[in-house]
């Protein structure tokens, strides 16, 4: 069977005709397989959803319990048959619960990786390379300029800055699902044990991470009521990036704005956003991880989706690997 008969794009998302299901559909469908809980991949209103238990839990937290007609939890590494098509979820290392989906039918094997990264991350299972015929890769950071440094170095810079500027609050912008918890965990692993103040938008997801055994230490709401204004001096406050340009940020004394994102690799991005301390911490693979992963999967063909497809397709050409962009609509880079 031709790979494009097994999976191909439709306006709703990536569709599997023999199995009659979609992967990460952007519109409500009958049966959806979902790689991870970021809102551009995991939407509400599907008739049935198959995802890891953690992704289902996260969707429940974000959309409320009735987010889908029925749900089914996929255990990592266990094949499930859907109309004769075998699907297996494998860890993707992106955020808690994230998975790649391996689709096998009549001797043809495609892995839809969703979003993934290769750097070690204490808040989720590490990415597992899966041998396949076709590998569908993301390309959020699909340009040779994106090279993420070790996250521990970035956290060390943050902690150094808190020592240099003890009279100021450090506001760390980090997306609510995944990045925020990873930053907090990195801070703990680096020995930062004072309370971390969090924006309200992070509370439920962070509680959920803790319930899954990911220690984040003492988290306190970053409200003026809970602590006098002066108390934020020297504190680390984590919140969604949008909150820092907002009036919400006024409660902090002379804050240093930090942003944890792979985009912070580009100075102009940091400058335009008014970021004083960029932290290059990404939940997506950088250029070197993307190219290494493509080789590891042994795939003969690469389909490149959301991001800078052209550069990665060009690289594959130079390496003699067949590649083409897969034009899927509706994905942003919410996770970074």
């Amino acid at each position: 069977m031709r790979a494009s008969d097994l999976l191909h794009p439709r306006p709703e998302g990536l569709y599997c005709p023999p199995g009659d299901f979609f992967i990460d559909p952007v519109r409500p469908v009958n049966r959806a397989l979902i790689t991870h809980g970021h809102s551009d991949h995991a939407r509400s209103g599907h008739r049935s959803v198959l995802a890891t238990q953690q992704t289902l839990d996260i969707m429940g937290l974000r959309y409320g319990e009735g987010f889908a007609g029925t749900t089914q939890a996929a255990a990592l590494g266990e094949a499930i048959a859907l109309n004769g098509v075998s699907v297996t979820f494998h860890p993707a290392g992106h955020v808690l619960g994230s998975a790649q989906i391996e689709v096998v039918h009549q001797g043809s094997c495609i892995v839809a990786s969703g979003d993934y990264k290769r750097q070690r991350d204490a808040t989720c299972e590490p990415f597992e390379p899966v041998k396949c015929d076709v590998f569908i890769t993301e390309a959020t950071f699909g340009l040779p300029v994106f090279r993420h440094p070790p996250d521990t170095e970035e956290i060390a810079r943050l902690l150094k800055s808190t020592a240099q500027f003890p009279e100021r609050a450090h506001l760390v912008g980090a997306y609510a699902l995944g990045k925020a918890q990873r930053v907090m965990r990195l801070l703990r692993d680096a020995g930062h044990d004072s309370p971390i103040y969090i924006h309200g938008a992070l509370a439920r997801l962070s509680d959920y991470y803790q319930s899954q055994g990911i220690e984040l230490g003492t988290l306190e709401p970053a409200t003026v009521e809970s602590s006098g204004r002066q108390d934020f001096a020297g504190a680390i406050v984590v919140g969604p990036p949008s909150a820092f340009a907002d009036r919400w940020a006024r409660r902090f004394p002379d804050p240093i704005s930090c942003f944890a994102s792979g985009w912070m690799r580009i100075r102009q991005r940091a400058k335009q956003g008014g970021v004083e301390l960029p932290l290059i911490i990404s939940d997506h693979a950088d250029w070197d991880e993307l190219t290494a992963t493509i080789k590891e999967t042994g795939a003969e063909e690469i389909w490149v989706t959301h991001g800078r497809e052209e550069a990665l397709v060009r690289w594959c050409e130079l390496e003699g690997i067949a590649a083409r962009p897969l034009h899927l609509v509706g994905y942003e880079d919410e996770g970074d």
Binding site: L143, P144, V145, F146, R147, P149, R157, S161, Q164, F165, F244, A245, D246, R247, W248, A249, R250, P253, D254, P255, I256, S257, R265, I266, R267, Q268, A270, K271, Q272, G273, G274, V275, E276, L277, P278, R308, E310, A311, R314, W315, L318
Partner: protein, 533 residues
């Protein structure tokens, strides 16, 4: 190299002066010699390295990667140095080896000949991390552009050693990179370096503005008054054949004024105002003076068109005699006779103003006899020449600022305490024929208002946003609606860089005119008229 690279990365994104000082001070404290001294020299512009042209850099990277991938990358990043630092291919074996120190990088670059320069650079880039590569490229392409002046770096050194910045300025031109003896002194490990070089800068004496009620406490008989000329305060030092012209912060600006330097055939240190024109005939405006500023070299034509001269205020030294401890009255006498010995087309004496009481002086201040005067100076007759800005002996009493009513056009988010406020305002005035007037931006200001007013304008900006571009919002501003700002400024210069053709000096918001309809704001002609006086 990594620590220097990290310092540059942080400085470029840190807007506040205090933040920059902390970063610099911590760097100088924690990094050893000679790296810290070389970093200092790189920041103050005192480090000489053979330059590598951007085209060469591009050629080097093209030898190492696919041109198509480089093209995509450069298009995305937009900055050559940054793109190259990021895409430079690196083998793990190179990184595992020793990371070069700043001293090693500088030594290799300085030893490189013109022909093997690119090869040396490539080897250095092979061995460095991404941000170190960026720093190396910045060093060789010239110009760090990190928003740190030499003066600020010296202030950080002063903070480090808990000494007055004037002491460092005074020593500075006698020192050379990597400044080991300077750091040793600042850290209390050695004596203060001896001044051995000739024609060193002597820190200048500055004045305080006259505040409300100050004059009533002062006796006019205690003070001399003189005009405050609108040029550049300079210090001319000539000693043992070495001639230097310093700015008031101790930067050597001699190179830009060879005509004046040539006339410094004396042995003395003079304090005065640098102006252009002919002192006997006509003194040029600040706009004219600008033709001579920020130039690497000056053509004979420009020198002829805008000859530089110095209007002398004070004398600090004649021959071997330090006059700084003498009272102003005596120094003034010495200055008067000294200036008579100098070339009259290059040096003249700043005249004193006769006055009996403050009222009379106020009249003169309001109507100065010359457009290149920006106020009057008051100097106690008995004041010695002190460094810095002592309170009491010298006052400046400036002409009242100009004001115009302009309309708010764009607002940009501030930094630090103001990062959630739209606090930097671009404003414009009306231009074009009646019936189809358009606003043309004339300046930008970010202070002059209270915190409460800032909150009000911030709300106005958020409620009246037309468009957003990153941190900038365009605000509704037309004949029917717009926020009128009364803007105060010290003067106007002609500008080819601005669409309006004018650039304001020292603009600030003096009042918010919530009451004034936008259509009644000023027109560009009002500003143009000011230019022509």
């Amino acid at each position: 190299m990594n620590r220097f690279a990290e310092l540059l990365d942080r400085l470029v994104l840190t807007p506040s002066r205090n933040g920059k000082l902390t970063l610099l001070r911590d760097y100088f404290r924690s990094v050893e010699d000679p790296d810290r001294g070389l970093a200092l020299a790189a920041i103050t512009g005192d480090l000489t390295i053979a330059a590598v042209k951007p085209a060469m850099l591009r050629a080097l990277v093209m030898e190492r990667m696919d041109p198509v991938l480089f093209g995509y990358s450069y298009d995305y990043v937009g900055d050559l140095a940054e793109t190259v630092s990021l895409v430079w291919p690196q083998s793990p074996a190179d990184i595992a080896n020793h990371e070069p120190t700043l001293a090693e990088v500088v030594a290799k670059l300085q030893a490189a000949s013109r022909s093997d320069g690119p090869k040396v650079l490539a080897r250095l880039l092979d061995s460095a991390s991404i941000s170190a590569r960026f720093a190396i490229i910045k060093l060789v392409t010239g110009g760090l552009r990190i928003g740190v002046s030499a003066r600020l770096a010296k202030q950080a050194l002063a903070d480090l050693g808990k000494v007055d910045v004037a002491e460092i300025e005074e020593l500075w031109h006698g020192l050379t990179p990597p400044y080991a003896e300077l750091f040793a002194w600042l850290e209390g490990k050695a004596e203060k370096p001896k001044k051995t070089a000739l024609a060193l800068f002597r820190p200048v004496m500055l004045s305080n503005p006259i505040g409300d009620g100050d004059l009533e406490k002062l006796d006019p008989a205690d003070y001399a008054a003189e005009w405050k000329w609108d040029g550049i305060r300079v210090q001319a030092v000539s000693e043992g054949g070495v001639r230097r012209l310093y700015s008031r912060t101790g930067d050597d600006v001699s190179g830009a004024f060879p005509d004046l330097a040539e006339a410094m055939d004396f042995s003395a240190t003079l304090d005065g105002e640098l102006l252009v024109g002919d002192p006997l005939q006509a003194t040029g405006t600040f706009s004219d003076l600008q033709q001579r500023l920020n130039r690497k070299s000056v053509t004979p034509k420009i020198q002829q068109q805008y000859p530089a001269f110095m209007r002398c205020y004070d004398v600090l030294q004649i021959g071997d005699e330090d006059l700084r401890t003498l009272p102003f009255s005596e120094r003034r006498g010495r200055l008067q006779s000294f200036v008579q010995t100098l070339d009259p087309s290059r040096f003249d004496l700043s005249p004193l103003i006769e006055f009996t009481d403050w009222q009379a002086l106020e009249e003169l201040r309001r109507k100065p006899l010359h457009p290149v005067i920006e106020g009057v100076m008051l100097k106690r007759w008995d004041s010695p020449y002190l460094t810095g800005r002592p309170k009491g002996p010298w006052f400046k009493w400036k002409r009242d600022p100009h004001t115009i009513d302009a309309v708010l056009m764009y607002a940009q988010r501030g930094h630090g305490k103001r990062s959630s406020f739209y606090s930097d305002y671009t404003f414009g005035v009306w231009s074009g024929p009646e019936g189809s007037e358009e606003l043309v931006p004339v300046g930008k200001a970010y202070f002059g208002f209270t915190d409460e007013e800032l909150r009000q304008v911030d709300k106005y900006v958020r409620d009246n946003t037309v468009e957003r571009f990153g941190p900038v919002r365009s605000v509704r501003a037309d004949r029917r609606q717009g926020l009128v700002l009364e803007v105060a400024f010290e003067g106007l210069n002609r500008s080819t860089r601005h669409k309006s053709g004018v650039a304001m000096r020292f603009p600030r918001i003096s009042r918010l005119r919530w009451d004034k309809p936008a259509a009644e704001a000023d027109r560009i002609e009002t500003l143009q008229a000011l230019l022509d006086t």
